[in-house]
Every structure is written in C-alpha cells, then in structure tokens.
Symmetry: C2
Subunit: 108 residues, 2 copies
C-alpha cells in the first residue's frame, strides 16, 4: 500500500484536474467540444448552428471552455475561430468517441 500512497502523493494536482474535468459534465459543452474537434477553426456562430443552441448560450459555454483550458481562439479580422487548446483535450475527446471530419488533421 505504501507504493500506491506514494504514487498518489507524487502525482499531479488533482484539485486542478477535477476542476478542469468538471467542465465536461454538461452535454451542451461536450457537443461544442465535439464540434470543434470535428471542425478545427469553427466560428462561434457556426458552433451555435451545428449544436442547435442559442448564440448567447453558446457564448457563455465558449467563455467557460476557454477559461478552463479546453479551447483557445484565433482572431482573423472580425472573425473568431475556435481550436482545442492542448493535446490532452484532444486525446480525451478521442477516448470519449469524438471524431474528426474526413480529411481533418490534428492541429494541436
């Protein structure tokens, strides 16, 4: 048991990890992440459309997903494009069954 206890002690910050994972506990936010994963660079107006949500609901969810480290944005003139923020998010999305569209490559 000592080795297991030691492994937990040496491990990462589980408070921080739990906070990040808590953002996944919502089907609308999962839908947004699946859509960004399928279509990297998607705009927020298109995200609202493909997820079937109001733009205001989508904006709120996007702010939360950015603030918690799941998404990042790229500005292109007046347009804001959404990407997955890091490889961890990318790998977890694959594990939970999220796919790319055909021809889309990893960009994170």
């Amino acid at each position: 048991m000592r080795a297991t206890a030691q492994l937990l002690e040496d491990g990462q910050d589980l408070d921080l990890l739990a906070r990040r994972l808590s953002v996944l506990a919502d089907p609308r936010r999962l839908r947004i992440l699946f859509a960004v994963h399928a279509h990297p660079g998607i705009r927020s107006s298109d995200l609202a459309r493909v997820t079937g949500a109001l733009e205001s609901t989508t904006s709120h969810a996007l702010a939360l997903l950015r603030g918690s480290g799941w998404l990042r944005t790229e500005q292109d003139g007046r347009e804001v494009h959404y990407q997955l923020a890091d490889p961890l998010g990318h790998r977890i999305l694959h594990e939970i069954g999220s796919s790319h569209l055909p021809g889309v490559e990893h960009r994170t």
Copy 2:
C-alpha cells in the same frame, strides 16, 4: 457545417456521457480511481488509508463510482475488491496521468 451537425447527431448519447464524466469532478474520487488503477483489486479499507480519507467518505465515493460505471467489485469471502469497470475508464485514467504500479498489468 452540415457534415459537423450530422456527426453530432449520429454521435453517442452525450447526456449519458456528461453524467458519467461529472463523477470525475472531485479530487477525492479522482484519488480513488488513481489508486484502483495503480493497484487493481484494492480493498475499500486500503483505499481509505492510501487516499487519506475517512472510511465513511470513501464508502460513499465508492458507491457513486460503482453506480456511475467507473468501478466494479469482486467479492472474496468477507473482502470486497475494487477494479476499474471498463476499458474506457482505463484509457481516460492513462490520459489524465494515472499510472500503474510497476508490474501491474491491465485487467479490464
């Protein structure tokens, strides 16, 4: 956009997935999952000890982790041993930085 919307529609039940993932939003429950992953077959009394929690708190968390599909039990006489319940849980734990103890093999 139509392909992305179609992909979301064809996808799995995101309500169910969000409910399962919501269980990860707690550092004590993550600590238990990390310990079961490190040491498959661990008993609940040892789980309480290595995670530094009360046995009552641990029992409550274990019931939730079983009910939400993360853990399963094996009875051995009077002892109850905990295992990860499925390969998805196993893979997600690896992604979020949970390791086996040396010599421990996948059993799910």
